[in-house]
């Protein structure tokens, strides 16, 4: 191998080339990474210092995160405090509103008296009574005839009497009748008829047989042989005073049979074959025929016309039938021999008596024309006429006068009417009334007047407890004011909300408003820190208790509540100030730390660019720049406001 001998010049070039190659490699590396110091071998001090600076920056970044959490916790507490303050101020407004509303009101109760134990009987119906007691009872109808018998054998000598065979006489009492047939031929009688006048039947026997048959047939009439000898008189008589008896003839000898018996002219009738005997009344006979007597009530009138004609009355029975069939609603009856008209009921009112002409009916029956018989009440009737009941309400007096005159009270109905009128005259909500037993109730129409009863009538009639002592208005149980009750309920609701808010003011598990403490570390080895103490800001912690029901009705209680609220608000505001200053300390540190991190990171990078000469030159340039820079200007202005000004 031949040695290549290098000349010094070539060696020098080679060295320079090697240096250049190294330099090139280094420059390339630097260009690629942008760093002058790429590894510990380039510049160990700078490299390791830079590394430690970057590590420190990373540590501080983590620290910054925890400082941020601390800040958030403080802010959560701050928000909670603001909200609680709002709630407490609302509670204050509520309590003040309650204070302005009036306290419980005791309503006044109007004076009132009510009677108990009264026993006023119901009104009795009106009774119009005739004052003359001489209307005799009716006399039963009677008709007397003379039978010409001839001879003294008392034979019913029908041949002599020329009564043909088959002649009938029918006896009727208006309800039932019986027909008797003369069987003079002895050949039997028609169906249903009773045979009489057979040969040898004496008058007495005939009469006995006829009466027996009349009784069996329930015809209310009997025959009597009056004088029993000679020219016999027989009498046809009604069994009672209300029936008219009709005797009619029929058959072959009808035209003459009644005449033969002497009965053709008894009573009244159209002819000799048809006669009716009627009851009579002596008294009523005395009344001029055609007169009428009318009894009128509010319902209508009942009239009777006296006389013997059709539709007229001549007996008690006819009189009662005519009147009771009228429209007055009154009931007519004889009490002994006195005619009485009784109203339908107490409410039917008065009965008025009138006549059309003449006065004989009135004087016979004992009524006075126009006489008014009024409904009555036994109890009120017992009160002496002219006695009074006075009702005084608040100094004004109304009077009820008892009696039978105009505007006087004699019945329960009149009493109630008068009380209703008194109630209307007092007006308003006055009550003046009596119940069905007559218990009197009087209530004043306002709360001012006292109620006093008086008068000359015995007060115990209208209630055994009534007396003349005045009854004054009273006060009822107090009623709670509604506005205060609502304010009280609002206050309690707000306190509940305060407690819930305090419980919600947590962040990251820490609640400064519920006694949790917060510690924030400012450097990596935990030697610099700040501890913030928590407080208890729920309702109990603030010294606020909910109000018992009805407590706000008393002013003293509301005042106590307001004082409590005031103290709580002051406590909260003080604490808010403390938290606020804590927050600003922490935020200061936080800001400083984050800027510091940037500085460290920059420093870490810059370190590897150290160059003494460059630095000196840079500093000179910086010095010149700073003379005009805004930083220097702001520094100057800040220094101006500082105490340095004093020192200058």
């Amino acid at each position: 191998m031949t040695d290549i001998i290098l000349s010094s010049g070539v060696r020098g070039n080679l060295l320079s080339l090697q240096n250049t190659a190294n330099l090139l490699e280094r420059t390339q590396e630097r260009l690629a990474t942008g760093l002058k110091v790429n590894s510990a071998l380039d510049d160990p001090t700078a490299f390791f210092t830079s590394a430690s600076l970057n590590n420190r920056a990373a540590d501080l970044s983590r620290l910054l995160d925890s400082i941020s959490l601390g800040v958030q916790t403080l802010e959560a507490a701050d928000v909670g405090i603001k909200a609680i303050t709002d709630l407490l101020e609302t509670a204050q407004a509520s309590a003040r509103q309650a204070l302005q509303a009036p306290g419980p009101l005791s309503p006044a109760v109007a004076a009132s008296i009510t009677g108990t134990g009264a026993a006023i009987a119901a009104d009795a119906a009106a009774v119009a009574t005739g004052s003359i007691t001489n209307v005799a009872a009716d006399t039963a109808a009677v008709g007397t005839g003379t039978v010409v018998t001839g001879g003294d054998a008392l034979e019913l000598d029908v041949t002599n009497l020329n009564i043909a065979d088959g002649t009938t006489i029918t006896i009727s009492d208006g309800t039932t009748s019986r027909t008797f047939e003369f069987d003079t031929a002895g050949d039997g009688v028609g169906a249903g008829n009773f045979g009489i006048g057979a040969t040898n039947q004496t008058l007495a026997q005939a009469i006995t047989a006829i009466n027996g048959e009349l009784s069996t047939a329930t015809v209310n009439a009997t025959f009597t042989d009056v004088d029993g000898g000679g020219d016999s008189q027989i009498q046809l008589q009604a069994s009672n005073a209300t029936d008219s008896i009709q005797i009619t003839a029929g058959g072959a000898g009808s035209a003459t049979v009644l005449a033969a018996l002497g009965l053709d002219a008894i009573g009244s009738g159209p002819d000799a074959t048809d006669r009716t005997i009627a009851p009579t009344n002596a008294t009523l006979d005395g009344i001029t025929a055609g007169e009428t007597l009318t009894f009128t009530t509010a319902a209508g009138s009942s009239t009777v016309t006296f006389g013997t004609g059709a539709g007229q009355s001549n007996t008690r029975a006819e009189l009662l039938a005519a009147l009771n069939g009228g429209a007055s609603g009154a009931t007519f009856a004889f009490n002994g021999n006195t005619l009485e008209a009784t109203g339908a009921n107490a409410a039917a009112g008065d009965i008025t008596v009138a006549v059309t002409s003449g006065a004989s009916a009135l004087s016979t029956l004992g009524f006075t024309s126009g006489a008014v018989s009024t409904t009555t009440n036994a109890t009120l009737g017992a009160i002496t006429q002219g006695q009074t009941l006075t009702i005084d309400i608040g100094g004004t007096t109304e009077t009820v006068t008892f009696g039978s005159g105009a505007n006087e009270v004699n019945t329960l109905a009149e009493f109630n009417t008068r009380l209703a009128a008194i109630q209307t005259s007092f007006g308003g909500s006055t009550v003046v009334s009596a119940d069905a037993d007559g218990n009197l109730t009087v209530t004043a129409n306002n709360t001012i007047g006292s109620v006093t009863l008086g008068g000359t009538a015995p007060l115990t009639t209208f209630g055994t407890n009534l007396n003349t002592t005045a009854v004054a208005p009273t006060t009822g149980t107090p009623v709670n004011n509604v506005i205060r009750e609502r304010a009280e309920a609002d206050y309690n609701t707000l306190l509940t909300q305060v407690t819930e808010l305090a419980r919600d003011a947590r962040f990251n598990g820490n609640n400064l408003l519920q006694n949790d403490n917060l510690t924030i570390f400012f450097n990596e080895n935990s030697t610099s820190s700040l501890t913030i103490s928590g407080v208890d800001f729920d309702a109990n912690g603030l010294g606020l208790t909910s109000q018992a029901a009805g407590s706000f009705q008393t002013n003293a209680n509301i005042d106590t509540a307001l004082e409590g609220l005031e103290a709580a608000i002051i406590q909260i505001r003080t604490q808010a100030g403390t938290f606020g200053s804590n927050l600003s300390v922490v935020e200061t540190r936080q800001q400083f730390t984050s800027s510091l991190i940037q500085t460290l990171e920059t420093g870490g990078a810059d370190l590897v660019l150290a160059d003494i000469n460059e630095e000196g030159a840079n500093l000179l340039a910086l010095q010149t720049r700073q003379q005009l820079s805004s930083t220097a200007l702001s520094l100057a202005s800040q220094a101006d406001q500082n105490v340095l000004r004093l020192f200058g």
Partner: protein, 133 residues
């Protein structure tokens, strides 16, 4: 522990936001409390702060004296980053200074800035060609 301050006649010092001037007698004062205190030899006036690091001293001084140091933070960081960009070798000082400020030990911070100032002076002299030996 109280701070002992010895004042020559006519010497002044800052206490909080007041300036206290001594009369014409030597005086010894013992001061306790957390209010910032600066003796006159430690005070940098605005007119004297003509280099970047001196300006940093002024900024730290104002942070120390202020009620709300936050106001001065942005100025401070601007100055720091300018110096850092210009002279990265001063970074260890800056690092220590930041630590002291972070933990609230402003007075110690001022001492560090004083060291920075003397280093800076060296660099400036170097650049200006005044090597001094």
């Amino acid at each position: 522990m109280a701070l002992k301050v010895e004042l020559k006649p006519g010497e002044r010092f800052i206490l909080g936001d007041s300036v206290i001037t001594n009369d014409d007698q030597r005086t010894k004062l013992f001061i306790e409390g957390t209010v910032p205190i600066l003796r006159s030899k430690d005070i940098m006036r605005m007119e004297d702060a003509d280099t970047p690091c001196k300006k940093i001293y002024l900024a730290v001084q104002m942070m120390y004296l202020a009620k709300d140091p936050k106001l001065h933070h942005s100025t401070y960081f601007k100055l720091i980053s300018d110096v850092q960009n210009a002279a990265p070798s001063l970074f260890p000082h800056i690092d220590n200074l930041n630590n002291e400020i972070l933990t609230g030990a402003y007075y110690k911070g001022l001492k560090i800035v004083k060291a920075m100032i003397s280093d800076e002076e060296e660099l400036l002299n170097n650049a200006l060609g005044r090597t001094g030996i």
